[in-house]
Amino acid sequence: MDREEFEQIGQKRREADAAVEYHINVCTSSGCVASGSAAVKESLEAEVKARDLKHKCRVNGVGCLGLCGSGPILSIQPEDALYQKVKPQDSAEIVDHLGQGPVERIELKQDNAFFQQQQRVVLANAGKLDPEDIESAMAHGAYRALYKVTTEEMYPTDVVREITQSGLRGRGGAGYPTGLKWATVAKMDEGLKYIVCNGDEGDPGAFMDRSIMESDPHRILEGMAIAAYAVGASEGYIYIRAEYGLGIQRLKKAIRQAEKMGCLGKNIFDSPFSFSVQLRLGAGAFVCGEETALIASIEGQRGNPRPRPPYPAMSGLWGHSTLINNVETFANIAPIILNGSEWFSSMGTEKSAGTKVFALSGKVNRVGLIEVPMGISLREIIEEIGGGIPDGHAFKAVQTGGPSGGCIPEEHLDTPVDYESLRALGSIMGSGGMVVMDDTSSMVSVARYFMEFCMDESCGKCIPCRVGTAQMYELLTRFVNKEATEADLTLLEELCEMVSQTSLCGLGQSAPNPVMSTLRYFREEYLERITPAHEPA
């Protein structure tokens, strides 16, 4: 396929879209589906049909529009109006108002920080394209980067260099430089190599990857294919939680369409490069987010992590060199290839380039999915984008990084969001969950909540994690019940240190983080729960 043929696919679709005067883009991501967007879409379609407006107006299902807390959400193009909390009975009014300005009653104003302060790279097309239609995606530029690397000027080494220079770091949590990882796999001896996309988003309070997979699946496939081209792999796996039904369905569809279109499979775009992708469903094990456990799971085994080294880059799936990146990391690849590493590294901070998607939730006025440049302060995210704390309560802490992260108090709200700064505060970037807590939340309970999570999710292979999490949970329960002693506090702190130092994998090593960070910033809440030891009878 030559460039012209390739470009025509998208071009044709863009023209077809332009021929229709109004587009009603209804969010069909999980969040809005849960609040009833399917019925809204149906009723809108019915209204359009009833008025015989098919030539003038089309109702599209699109991906996530971000403000999940206000769903169902839809947008009217080209007016660019947003409606929130739409009910099927609003449909007639919406259709009637086309071309006459928005229905103010349900309009979602965009003149606030939530819309103004975001910078969308990964989510650039979320909410714009139809995730179940590859042509819609191509109309928005999908596979352009893949086309560029496979058929034009870029050698695999060029691709690796571009990614390295961009400064992109793993979005799964630890922030390992993506280029370095790619370079390592690229340098391994030739032979079978694998690309694995980690879509096992298991952190409670995180739904970034889910939204990306539901909203723009082709962007992930494209990123994986580029990676495969760069490191010399020919097979890829997407490991996705079985709970993500909609994401699975859309990715399956996307793979089928991409293969049909020649964007995946044998001789992609008629080049010598071949790459196929398969889905593998997780089955409810958070630890499978750890890369060696994930590999074991793809191999059909228990998701037990194994010691590293050897790293998956050296010995991964079935002993072969394997590149594992997370969904959001792959979603960043195509824009970097298209716009260049300089463009990417100009966003964010020096050490943390680009943007980051966060799932903002908890006790905050505007909850939803946001994408912001790295380096933005926590305060901007919570107070401006999130619109502050509801119901007159005061901010207490923001939890980042899920069960591996920590709770950050008010005094550190001006910290810029980047890998190093969050780590210095005793938390981590993590995959992007950001849960805001107000003055009604007990930090000891929060710590216990995360410990319970880690205890339930521990694979049980190594002793410190298997037993240590259960022991810490028990100790935290004593604190919650105000039955703890001084000795319990000492023991809890010793366990935190010991479990983090001796556990086999990241789950165990980071399991004490929520406890350590709450002990660091909210120690008085622990002390308040200590009863004087051994009251005489």
Binding site: A487, H534, E535, P536, A537
Partner: protein, 175 residues
């Protein structure tokens, strides 16, 4: 005569084997009679725990509300508390009952395996705790002497060291 070291021995939920092992120091018990004063023990008649005791050896885990009250009180009146044997330190065999609710144990003993007046005793007898606990989970313990029971010579060496004002050097061995 120098001041005698005041020693107490108490017995919670154990089998008395540790006390017997204490007696297995045989003649040494009489040899050190001029250096220790056994002020409270199943072996002597004092029924009130003295104001302050230098060393208390405790055998057995904490099994009933009486045990718990007793050990809390003893801790307040003793300088050094030594957990003697596995039952005090780990719960050991008596703690095997912890896997069952007290009611199930009473059911077996007083209903299934009884012929007359089949029900659990409920007067004067103390309430049993749902689980037997090691002594140090109830009060702080200073020295641990594991074993089932700790052999007589080990107890002897520990006692002699303590009488000489030294902390005993114990090579712990459960079981």
């Amino acid at each position: 005569m120098p001041n005698k070291v005041k020693v107490a021995t108490v017995w919670l939920d154990g089998c008395s084997g540790c006390h017997m092992s204490f007696l297995d120091i045989d003649g040494v018990l009489l040899d050190i009679a001029d250096r220790i004063d056994l002020v409270y023990s199943p072996l002597v008649d004092n029924k009130v725990f003295p104001d302050m005791v230098d060393l208390t050896l405790v055998e057995g885990g904490v099994s009933s509300v009486d045990d718990r009250a007793k050990i809390i009180k003893i801790r307040k009146h003793t300088k050094l508390l030594l957990s003697l044997g596995d039952c005090a330190i780990t719960g050991n065999v008596p703690a095997m009952r912890n896997r069952y609710p007290v009611a199930a144990i009473e059911e077996r003993a007083y209903i299934e395996n009884a012929d007359v007046n089949q029900h659990a005793p409920n007067l004067i007898v103390p309430e049993l705790l749902p689980q037997i606990q090691p002594v140090h989970t109830v009060v702080p313990v200073d020295i641990y002497l594991p074993g089932c029971p700790p052999p007589g010579p080990v107890i002897r060496d520990a006692l002699v060291a303590l009488l000489n004002g030294e902390m005993p050097n114990i090579s712990p061995r459960f079981g």
